[in-house]
Amino acid sequence: MLSIKNLHANIEGKEILKGINLEVKAGEVHAIMGPNGSGKSSLASVLAGRENYEITEGEVWLDGKNLLDMKPEVRAREGVFLAFQYPVEIPGVSNINFLRTALSEIRIHRNLPPLSAKEFLKMTKEKQALVEFEAKLANRSLNQGFSGGEKKRNEVFQLAMLEPKLSILDETDSGLDIDALRIVSNGINKLRSADNAFVLITHYQRLLEYIVPDFVHVLYNGQIVRSGTKELALELEEKGYDWLKEEFHGNESINKI
């Protein structure tokens, strides 16, 4: 589904992604871990099309389409969803009105007929129940006055409503208490299917106890330095990142010789 080949990207002239390679197939869940500043959130932003990143090399394909050629809104309509680490507040715009606008754009792009108000409402209720999102939050202004946890849960509710192919969750677990983490994880587990894929960006192994990944990758210094299965996450939890850093720099100095 997603194929990233030798992706390099700069921000303000500084190279931040230094040759990322990643294959994600439908039905898979990939976790990307790594220390602060390793480029995890940058990777998410580049995939979503944030414009302050400059792509200097490499390719990204989504089901055979060149993702890097698309504007952010087209990527979204093609099925890329980013659950933001810091969701923004938009006063006066109701959550529901916003979702209706988004969904109708996506449906137009996919040549689907528009949903009637009744159908939309029915869908809203079902998805709210699925991800345990309170109706009162759905009717409020978009993220306005939401707690950190409520904002994160709203991201998952939106994910449920927009039914993307590829969901990238950027530290969705950060700032969640254990109950909220459980609710968010349950929601995502229910949304998993053979047709969609998830990329979870996280610092902690904790999330992966709830959402079990098929693959775990470690991002360090703009590159994926290690890939494995869920056991890798446990190893990281136990040993931290330092051994990987040392290994990486060791290799680097060897290469220089």
């Binding site: 979503a48 099309g49 944030r50 414009e51 504007k71 952010p72 809104e73 990527r75 979204a76 309509r77 969803f81 980013l82 933001f84 969701p87 923004v88 938009i90 006063p91 006066g92 715009v93 009105n97 916003f98 979702l99 606008t101 988004a102 969904l103 754009e105 996506i106 792009h109 202004s141 978009l142 939106q158 927009l162």
Partner: protein, 481 residues
């Protein structure tokens, strides 16, 4: 950056939708302003002597007055001698039915989105159209007549209801009020008149559409609305003008009078031609609007959506004379490109227990400059009076400006005044967030701006709220920075 440039370019290339000129035979007075001009207009309209006398008083006051200098922009030189003060479609000025109206004129109305032939069948809106200087037609008149409601052009009201005009015209905005109000007194061409009798709730929105068509003309309409005891009326005005390189002057006066227990809701969607992106042309919109709550529990509310004009200079005001009377001012003012708006309200709390609420939402984009200027005055008798003001500014891009000038005066220490103000910027983060959900930048800006202005748009009658939302989006199209 590239994306921004592209969008700014799109914005610049977007044309003013109502910029067409109607090819129609016009009866236009010679340019220039002197006593003869005033007599000419009065004679054209077959006015009684008392009205001519009043116009003359206005003209004398105008000659003595100076241009205001306190506003937050440099007052442009206006050559009052280069303007024509009267322009009317040449045919018979008043029509008994729509069939008699010049078909070209009807086509104009259709372009403006007010197909009058259909309006007749639509429930809820009665329209008076002032085309340049003359009121062309008033639909729905008969139905309103049955309720005793008078809704007609001010010229007709002078003929048919002279006692009301003589009593109330100029009673809220005197002929000496300010230079533009004095000018309007001298040369006002036409406008609307509304009278709602005691205890009557006007069953439909009353609406006037103003259109400047002819070149080198000014538009000086005069509106007078009287709501007698315990009556209710909701009134809306809209306006457009052709695109021209020269600036055109619009100096209207609106007077509202609400008696004991009466309520007047006055809504404006102002979309005069704003000039091009370099600031060439556009309407100078210098308007005096004032309402008086004359009796107990009277209520006046002004709602304005100001998206057009090169310069907007306007402060719809309310005199809260009756005890327990209340006033509201809801405003959205947008300035894009080189537009300037200096707008706000003045609320005079004279009676006890009077209440007022001001919600002002300024939106600046391009190189637009937007100023809120407001006065809240608590008089010595305004015991327990209350005011709440909320004054927000939204900036789009780095080249625009937002300014706030709130004035507060209290002569009664039981009165309370609250003022809240915020300034915010449409962030790239907000736009990107919406992009990431499949919404393009244009629509994202529209959503954000409409969300921001919601408290004001909610005050508009339903059908006009939708219109105003579209207008806001159009005015700001591509202005994300």
């Amino acid at each position: 950056m590239e994306k921004d440039d592209l969008m700014l370019e799109q914005l610049a290339n977007r044309e003013y939708e109502f910029g067409f000129v109607t090819a129609i035979d016009m009866d236009i007075s010679e340019i220039g302003l002197n006593e003869d001009t005033v007599r000419f207009i009065s004679a054209k309209k077959n006015e009684p002597q008392w009205l001519l006398d009043w116009r003359m008083k206005g003209f004398k006051a105008f000659q003595k007055q100076e241009m205001p200098q306190w506003q937050n922009f440099k007052m442009p030189e206006i050559d009052f001698q280069s303007i024509s003060y009267y322009a009317a479609p040449k045919q018979q000025a008043k029509y008994a039915s729509l069939d008699e109206v010049d078909p070209e004129l009807l086509r104009t109305f259709e372009k403006l989105g007010i197909p009058m032939s259909e309006q007749k069948h639509l429930a809820g809106v009665a329209v008076d159209v002032v085309f340049d200087s003359v009121s062309v037609t008033t639909t729905y008149k008969k139905h309103l007549n049955e309720l005793g409601i008078i809704f007609c052009s001010i010229s007709d009201a002078v003929k048919e209801h002279p006692e009301l005009i003589q009593k109330y015209l100029g009673s809220v905005v005197p002929h000496t009020d300010n230079v533009f109000a004095s000018l309007n007194t001298a040369v006002f061409s036409d406008g609307s008149f509304v009278y709602i009798p005691k205890g009557v709730r006007c069953p439909m929105e009353l609406s006037t559409y103003f259109r400047i068509n002819a070149e080198n003309t000014g538009q000086f309409e005069r509106t007078l609305i009287i709501a007698d005891e315990d009556s209710y009326v909701s009134y809306l005005e809209g306006c457009t003008a052709p695109m021209r390189d020269e600036n055109q002057l619009h100096a209207a006066v609106v007077e509202l009078i609400a008696m004991k227990g009466a309520e007047i809701k006055y809504s404006t969607v102002q979309n005069w031609y704003p000039g091009d992106k370099e600031g060439k042309g556009g309407i100078f919109n210098f308007v005096t609007k004032r309402g008086a709550c004359r009796g107990e529990r009277a209520k006046i509310s002004w709602t304005q959506v100001e998206t057009g004009s090169a310069i907007t200079w306007k402060y719809p005001s309310i005199l809260l004379q009756g005890d327990y009377s209340s006033g509201e001012f809801y405003s959205v003012a947008v300035t894009n490109n080189m537009q300037i708006a200096d707008t706000g309200t003045k609320i005079y709390h004279l009676g006890a227990h009077t209440k007022s609420r001001i919600i002002s939402k300024g939106i600046s984009a391009g190189k637009g400059q937007n100023s809120y200027r407001g006065l809240v005055q608590m008089g010595p008798k305004a015991a327990y009076a209350r005011n709440f003001t909320q004054c927000d500014s939204l900036l789009i891009g780095d080249l625009c400006g937002a300014h706030t000038f709130p004035y507060i005066e209290s002569k009664n220490n039981t009165a309370t005044i609250e003022h809240e103000a915020t300034t915010s910027k449409i962030g790239e983060d907000q736009v990107f967030y919406l992009n990431q959900r499949g919404i393009d930048a244009e629509q994202a800006i529209a959503l954000i701006v409409n969300g921001y202005a919601k408290d004001v748009l909610n005050q508009l009658p339903m059908e006009f709220a939708v219109e105003a939302q579209k207008l806001l989006s159009l005015t700001l199209e591509g202005s994300v920075g």
